[in-house]
Structures are given as C-alpha cells and as structure tokens.
Symmetry: C2
Subunit: 322 residues, 2 copies
C-alpha cells in the first residue's frame, strides 16, 4: 500500500517558496505558518464527495481546479488573500492517469493565487476530497455575513445561472443543444473564484458571501445573520451568456436559485457605489447592483417595473432529481 | 436534505469562547483566527475512513474521541498547544443515535484541551471524517523531525504495543482471552494524545514524532530527515500492561512496530536527561530512554545484553490481513 501512495508524494510534493508565511511545508507532523504581524487568518474547509458534488466520471483536471476553487471562493467572500491549504484525499486506487491531471488542475490554480499546498493526508477509500484553506485579512476589514445594514446596496459579481443550466442539460431537465451545453459547462466544472475582487472590496463592502447554493439561499444567510431584509430587482440579475438567451421565467429561476455559481454577493453603503465599481475594474470583475438591504425582515422580489414577483421562483423542487 | 443536516448543527454548534484566538467561529464563509503575537501556527490534517481506520460498527463516542486524538497527537509532536479545529464529515445519514455520542466523544476531548471547533463541512456520502487542527508554538521551539543530532538520547512516552495487541485479538491473529482484549482495547479505540508532554518538552527536546505507524517506521522519519542513524535498546521499550505479560518475541515485535500507539518518540541531548524527566513529571506522563541517535546512518536493534537483534522483528507482513 505505501509504495502505491508514494506515487501521491510525486504529484503533490513541491518545495516551499521562501520568503513567505509558510515556514514548514509537507513532511513533518504539522505544517508551520507564521502569519504576518497584525493579520487575521481566515480558515475554511470543504469536503467534496463523488456522486454528490461531482459526477463519477468527472474530468480529473477540472475536478482538481474545482476543489480548490470552491475553497478560494470562501476566502474571497471574507476579503482574505490566499496563503496555503491542506489536501486530504481518499482514493479507491492511486492511478497516475487520474492523479497527474488532478494535481495539475489543483496546483495550477493554487499557483495562480500564490496559495501553497502545506500538508494533508492520503488514504485508500471511496473518492473524497477535503481541502482546508488559509488566507489572511487585516482584522477590521473582513467581509462578514453579519455586517449588512439597511440602506446598503446589494451587488453581484460576474453572472449567474449558467452552472445550473449545464446541470439541467446533463440531467435532461431541459432540451439543451450541444453548443449551449458546451458554453455553459465550464461554469459548472471550472468556476472562477473572485479572490481579487474580495480583496479589492476590503474597507468598501460591508457583508459578503459566495453563492454556492443559489443567490436567494445564500443572501438569506446574510439577512438572517445581519437581522435585516432585502428587496431584489430580479430582472437586473446578470444571467450567464448561455442563460441570457433563455425565456424570462427560466432566467429568473436560474439566476435566483441556480447554485454552483461561485460569484460573490455583497452589500455596500449606497454612497460608495463608485468605489465598488472601481474595485470591480481593478480586479477585472464585472459587478452589478441588484437590490437593497432594508430594515423590514424578509426578502421581496421585484420585476423590471418594480412589481412584486412570487417567491416560488426561488424553489426548484420540481427540478430536483428523483 | 437540509432539514436532515440541520440536525448536525444541533450537535456541533457551540458559542465561541472569549477572549481567545478564535475571533469568529462556525457560521460564516470562513472562521477567523487571530494568532497570538509572535507565535507560529502548527497545522495538521487527518482523514479517517470507515473500514480502513476504524471498524464499520465502531462505537461513535470512542470514534469521536479518536478522530480528534490523532490530530491532537500531531500537535503534541510539534510541541504545539491546541487552539482549534475544523471538522468535515461525510455521513450516509444524519442519525441522532450516532451523531450525539460521536459529537460528545469529540467535544469532550476538545474541551479537555481547550481546542475549539471553529468550522467545517457536512455532506451525505460514505462515512469519512476529516479534521484539520491548529495549534500555536513559539517560533524557535517547535519539535521538528529534522532536528535530531548524533549523541541525542531517544525517548518514548507511555507504553507501546497494546493497541496492536487489541487489533491482533479482533483479527484472531492471536488467542487473546476476553479480559486481555478488554484491557488492551482502550489503547486502540481511545488513545491519549500527549499534548501536555509536547508542550513541556519545548526548548528541551530536539526532534519529535508521534507514533502512529509503529516506532521503527516513525523513528525512521526522524532519522531520514535529520540525516542520522540510531540504535534502539529493544528490551527497554515499555510494553503496554497487557502486552507486558506476553512472550518476549511478541513483546519486541509489537513495541517496535505495533502502530496506533499515539505516543511520542523524541530525542534530546544527553545532558538534559533531568529536564526530560521533569517534563514527564510536570505532564504526568511516563517517559523512558530507549536508545541513542548516532552519526552512522541506519537503525540498529540491541537486546538487553547489547547484542544485535534481527531487523525482521520490525516486519509484520505475516500478520497483515489478506
């Protein structure tokens, strides 16, 4: 068994970059991190299970990318800059034809964000990938879920719904032609974590969350923890490029509650709109104003004319797989 | 599904203690840790899989204890004091009769060490428990694997081999009567992490590792990374109380290469023996001197008369399950 898992060391062990906060990387009982003076460490764990978070035949390069992307997205939602991560991996077998592309997809993205693999664990078992990620953020500048205030604008990065559209195509919930599926699929398989935007929003945005379970549900966490309500201009929600060509009802449903978008939903005071737009430019990330935080609890949906829309738009139970 | 996993929140969510290094616990995109000024953060991840690291019918209270214990043991081996941990849990179903004792076993041990559950993830899937743990240690005082020097004594905490003896009983490799199994089993199911000893050895010990895969293999990591060799006084290795009554050959094999002991193996300069013994007293942990680090690479085994013993003692292939 050990010699089998020595293979893994080949794909995942790399020299520690110096100088940097990672004082000791893979190979001891623990990794050692020396956080920069005066910074806080933001920490998040995500566990991805075959058949639940990804298809059993998932492309390993994309899977490696996605596993780290969802964690980087959590850092982005706190305004934290990536530092390093641990990887715990349960594998049915150590196959080089899987490990090589998986590690490439993972480490390419890690390198792009200067996020170092500092340790972890490998074992034999059903495929399961658990990443714990570490970032740093100046103490008073983290973007927390409990910081939204009545009067804040609500903003969305990028576009929503194409990941959900691709899933609908795979599940044959919708007739999606080949080109459309090919256009939407990358949003599902290889999401772009909005790390640069999150950092650029420090000191400007108040509350933030990343949209993994659908905008309405995730915005709901901000509302709940901040003790506020909101109204959303549903027809201002930016649809993905493929979703944009679909009928209005589907566009509304998938932008409101698609899931797997990994965009940021954040709030900022209305007098800081220029700064939010500048943060978007600085990070080359489109940002769209889509609603406002209100003192009245609950979420209200409005169409382009300001008329109320029914909350049923946010429910996908009729789409759920049996 | 969500309502099912809301159950989990009930068992694992607790208020964050203040004041302390945990600035923000469960419930946001990330937890926030503010490391004490001038300290390093020690980080370790372990993934435990049903059928591989524990029996499918494992007692959930003991399992909760063990999952955290093996991580605390990694901190102990660095001389780090526990701060907090994340728990990622994949479960076939959220059954209260499992979750309640599991969380109790886990959190009881966490409380004993002031180690706070700061975040994590839960998902449906084959049973898999992944803990990432954080501790703090003053920068120049961590106990690393690469720090052993020729002339150092080699020490062992507690006793060795009873965990392996229990496993042999379960596997029917050995005829073990009921009382003996009952005596040895706690060492396998509920190991004691040597956290207080690890902290007490700061500035005294040079290199350390925790013994999870068997003394010879784990000491081998110290030798390899420190570029040294060693000789071990095999008959000085402290056997567990049940193993102590077994024949010499089995005693030697199980103390040398038993596995699952979660004792510390550490080295310290020969002129600091009194301080090592004092650290043992201070932490109420027995410590035994069992050999020395030597410049000559390789490991040499000696009996009570100083005569060489064969290295085959360290191999268990004939015991391995088919």
């Amino acid at each position: 068994m050990l010699s089998e898992f020595d293979l893994i060391a080949r794909y995942f062990t790399r020299p520690t970059r110096r100088p940097g906060p990672v004082t000791l990387g893979i190979g001891d009982d623990c990794a050692l991190l020396t956080p920069p003076r005066g910074s806080q460490l933001a920490i998040s764990s995500d566990m991805l299970v075959e058949g639940r978070h990804f298809f059993p035949n998932a492309d390993p390069f994309q899977l490696g990318h996605k596993c780290l992307a969802v964690n980087l997205s959590d850092l982005a939602a706190m305004g934290a800059a990536p530092v390093g991560f641990t990887l715990a991996l349960s594998l049915p077998a150590a196959r080089p034809e899987w490990l090589e592309p998986f590690s490439k997809g993972l480490l390419n993205l890690a390198d792009r964000h200067g996020c170092e693999l500092i340790g972890g664990d490998t074992t034999k078992g059903p495929l399961n990938i658990c990443i714990t990620i570490f970032g740093q953020v100046p103490p008073a500048q983290s973007l927390r879920r409990d910081a939204a205030q009545a009067g804040d604008d609500i903003w969305i990065s990028g576009t929503l719904g194409d990941a959900r559209l691709a899933l609908a195509g795979y599940r044959n919930e919708l007739p999606l032609d080949k080109d459309m599926l090919a256009g939407a699929a990358p949003r599902m398989h290889a999401p772009t974590p909005r790390v640069e935007l999150g950092v650029a929003l420090r000191g400007i945005a108040r509350a933030a969350i990343d949209i993994s379970d659908g905008l309405v549900g995730d915005l709901g966490h901000i509302l709940h923890r901040s003790g506020v309500g909101a109204s959303l201009d549903v027809d201002r929600l930016p649809p993905g490029t493929v979703l944009a060509a679909q009928a209005a009802d589907l566009r509304r449903r998938f932008t409101l509650a698609g899931g797997d978008d990994y965009e940021l939903c954040f709030t900022a005071p209305a007098n800081r709109r220029d700064e939010v737009l500048a943060a978007g430019s600085l990070s080359s990330t489109p940002v769209t104003r889509v609603g406002s935080i209100e003192a009245l609890p609950g979420l209200r949906l409005k169409d382009a004319d300001g008329m109320p829309l029914p909350m049923q738009l946010t429910s996908f139970d009729h789409f759920a797989s049996p």
